[in-house]
């Protein structure tokens, strides 16, 4: 008697978990575009957003594209290798902002230039003591900022 009830409980639990997983998968599938935190330059080029839409643009800061010294304005280009978009920002940049590093900017496109109101730096999952990085750079193995 107890064994039968236990088997029934197990069956119910398994059925519940399967349904839960299916529901979660369906929600995730339906919202896969909305869940994306930022768009890449290629996505923006392929499907240009309507004028004035605020969105996040993410990618790497193109090497040699950062122009400072225009008052508080900084301009640079964000690239994903295939396409790149010009960005201007008025204000302070985070510590990790550098050429060749990942950034996510929030703002809108105006006449092909992305006017960013917020600049976030993305950092990777790599950790290394400064001395090791310096040594690697001297040997030419590692190139970064």
């Amino acid at each position: 008697m107890a064994g039968l009830r236990k088997r029934r409980r197990v069956r119910l639990i398994v059925a519940g978990l399967v349904l839960l997983a299916a529901a979660a998968a369906l929600v995730g599938y339906a919202m896969r575009d909305g869940i994306e935190f930022f768009r890449s330059p290629s996505q923006v080029v392929e499907a240009p957003p309507p004028p004035g839409e605020r969105f996040r643009l993410g990618g790497l800061v193109e090497e040699g594209s950062v122009v400072r010294g225009q008052g508080e304005t900084v301009s640079f280009r964000i690239t994903d290798g295939a396409n790149s978009i010009a960005v201007t920002h008025v204000g302070v940049l985070p510590d990790l902002f550098a050429e060749g590093q990942g950034v996510i900017v929030t703002g809108h496109l105006r006449a092909g230039v992305f006017e960013a109101t917020e600049v976030l730096a993305k950092h990777d999952e790599k950790y290394m003591p400064r001395e090791v990085a310096d040594a690697l750079k001297e040997q030419g193995v590692y190139r970064g900022d």
Partner: protein, 241 residues
């Protein structure tokens, strides 16, 4: 001796009582040692400077937050299938510890994000699912407190724990599902030795061990307290009846 021996409350009290001083003592040694090692004896990171030291609290706390939730789900399943009371009480005792770990991870994450990302909070998939996990912890604790009948409370909280497991899994793997987020990928993954220098990795390992031992000690104390409270309640009912 099988795992199910712990299902007997009397035996659990005996074994856990004997193990508790050792676990607590080990935690009291390893956790401060690991944190001191990480805070004072490691060099600055090549890009993040000394801000990287937050990793020694953030990563262990976040790992524990997710894994404790996993433990609650497993304990709830054992309760639902085999009806062992110790299992349900262990799940109940683990919840406040897990919720605290979640808060620690969220706070240290904000302290880390402000200087490095440029923001303390963003609605990034990983951050969002982690925040929802915290809400599930709070709801789980509240549901336990809201229902008078202990067995019914154990049943309903078990179901809630299982529903929340979606977000525990999500917050663990969100960085793999959505590459386009703000939070970086997992450092402690298969290519770990390329991600993190041993000079950071070893103290981090000590901190993770310390956090785990702290959790184990608190869990034993909490579960023992729950068993005693259950006994006291039974005695009270017997005397009143």
């Amino acid at each position: 001796m099988s795992l199910w021996e712990f299902a007997n409350p009397a035996r659990f009290m005996r074994i856990s009582g004997a193990a508790l001083p050792w676990v607590a003592g080990l935690a009291a040694v390893i956790l401060p040692a690991g944190l001191a090692w990480g805070f004072f004896l490691t060099p600055d990171d090549y890009r993040q400077g000394s801000t990287v030291k937050i990793i020694f609290v953030h990563v262990p706390a976040a790992m524990m937050a997710i894994n404790i939730y996993g433990m609650i789900v497993v304990a709830s399943l054992i309760w639902l299938i085999r009806r062992h009371h110790v299992s349900a009480l262990a799940a109940r005792a683990a919840a406040p510890i897990g919720a605290t770990m979640t808060v620690i991870a969220l706070l240290t994450g904000a302290l880390w994000g402000q200087p490095m990302w440029g923001t303390a909070w963003a609605w990034d998939p990983r951050l969002t699912s982690f925040f929802i996990l915290f809400l599930f912890y709070v709801g789980y604790i509240a549901l336990w407190a809201a229902i008078e009948d202990p067995d019914k409370a154990a049943d309903l909280t078990s179901v809630l724990a299982m529903v929340g497991s979606v977000f525990a899994v999500l917050s663990r793997y969100a960085v793999n599902f959505w590459s386009q987020g703000l939070h970086q990928g997992a450092t402690l993954s298969i290519d770990r030795d390329q991600n993190i220098d041993p000079v950071f990795w070893l103290p981090l390992l000590a901190c993770i061990a310390g956090f785990f031992l702290l959790f184990l000690a608190l869990l034993l104390v909490g579960t023992r307290t729950e068993i005693r409270a259950r006994r006291a309640r039974a005695l009270q009912l017997a005397m009143a009846g």
